[in-house]
């Protein structure tokens, strides 16, 4: 019974996250949703127009496609690890409870 309630709660949590991501997309139509740091860069340009970055990134992804690949890879590795650990714990948990 308690287990059922938790799983219901978990679905609510996931729906909350999805909603929070979708609402801005629907509410603000004419935006590209560019990164917040790009906007901060523009503000720096406003405050101190003469400032120039004094160091360049050693490695810049050659384009948007490669960049999104790397980000997807990052998310994929992380999510895979989380899934693996939780799955392992779950397997252990279920084995223990069947023996009991």
């Amino acid at each position: 019974m308690k287990r059922q309630r938790t799983s219901w709660n978990n679905w609510l949590l996931i729906s909350g996250v999805i909603l929070l991501a979708i609402i801005p997309l629907l509410a603000i139509r004419d935006s590209e949703f560019s990164g917040a740091d790009g906007q901060a860069e523009a503000v720096i340009g406003e405050i101190q127009p003469e400032y120039e970055a004094w160091f360049e990134p050693l490695l810049t992804p050659p384009g948007g496609e490669t960049e999104s690949l790397l980000f997807a890879l990052q998310a994929g590795i992380g999510a895979g690890t989380i899934g693996y650990v939780i799955g392992l714990y779950r397997g252990k948990h279920e084995r223990n409870s069947t023996f009991k």
């Binding site: 709660n9 949590l13 996931i14």
Partner: protein
Amino acid sequence: MKLKQLISLGLITATSVTVTILAAPPAQAMHIMEGFLPVTWAIFWWILFLPFFWLGLRSLNQITKDYPELKLLLALAGAFTFVLSALKIPSVTGSSSHPTGTGLGAVLFSPLIMTVLGSFVLLFQALLLAHGGLTTLGANAFSMAVVGPIVAYGLYGLVLQVSGRQTVALFLAAAVANLITYVVTSLQLALAFPAPEGGILSSFIKFAGIFAITQIPLAISEGLLTVLVWNWLVTYSQEQLQVLQQIKPKSL
């Protein structure tokens, strides 16, 4: 039984990987970019950050030596930050940013452990993705991997004591840690770039208007996701959580 378990494990892993890869929105950078802090400020934040990192390394070393069974949980805490900082989520301000994922590990282990794990995530992004930077790593790590986790840890304890409700405490801890990270980022930028009129305060309001407001819905998302993973842990790995309860005062 063994085979069935392996299959289910594989399925869970494969599904989560697929879901995140398919869901990955177009990339944009975040945090303070490479070269965008004047040299003296870059050095200042590096110096402030390094002692925490060193203490964190020591604490991490201690835990893995004394409690090797907690390594999986450490991997989980690190992976959580890794995933969350890759998720560029659109926000109400019309720009996008990402969660930080440092609250979970800070509450589970200690803020110092998250300093190390968070810094590695930032290093990965600075080196491979040109996201953040090496010169600004000290500043970015200080906001995301030092201040964020400490706030999460403190707030969790406080709310837990006042309300007695673990999930509420965890939600608030994770959400506020996320938000405060970007408040600190705004402050760091304001200190380095005070406005000709109005000075640091006026700059701070400008930067916070970009970072912190964008971050509000994402902070809520992060709180929800943290509670989700926490629920799984509470359901399936009571044993590990109990070990953590015992060592917490020592690892801080």
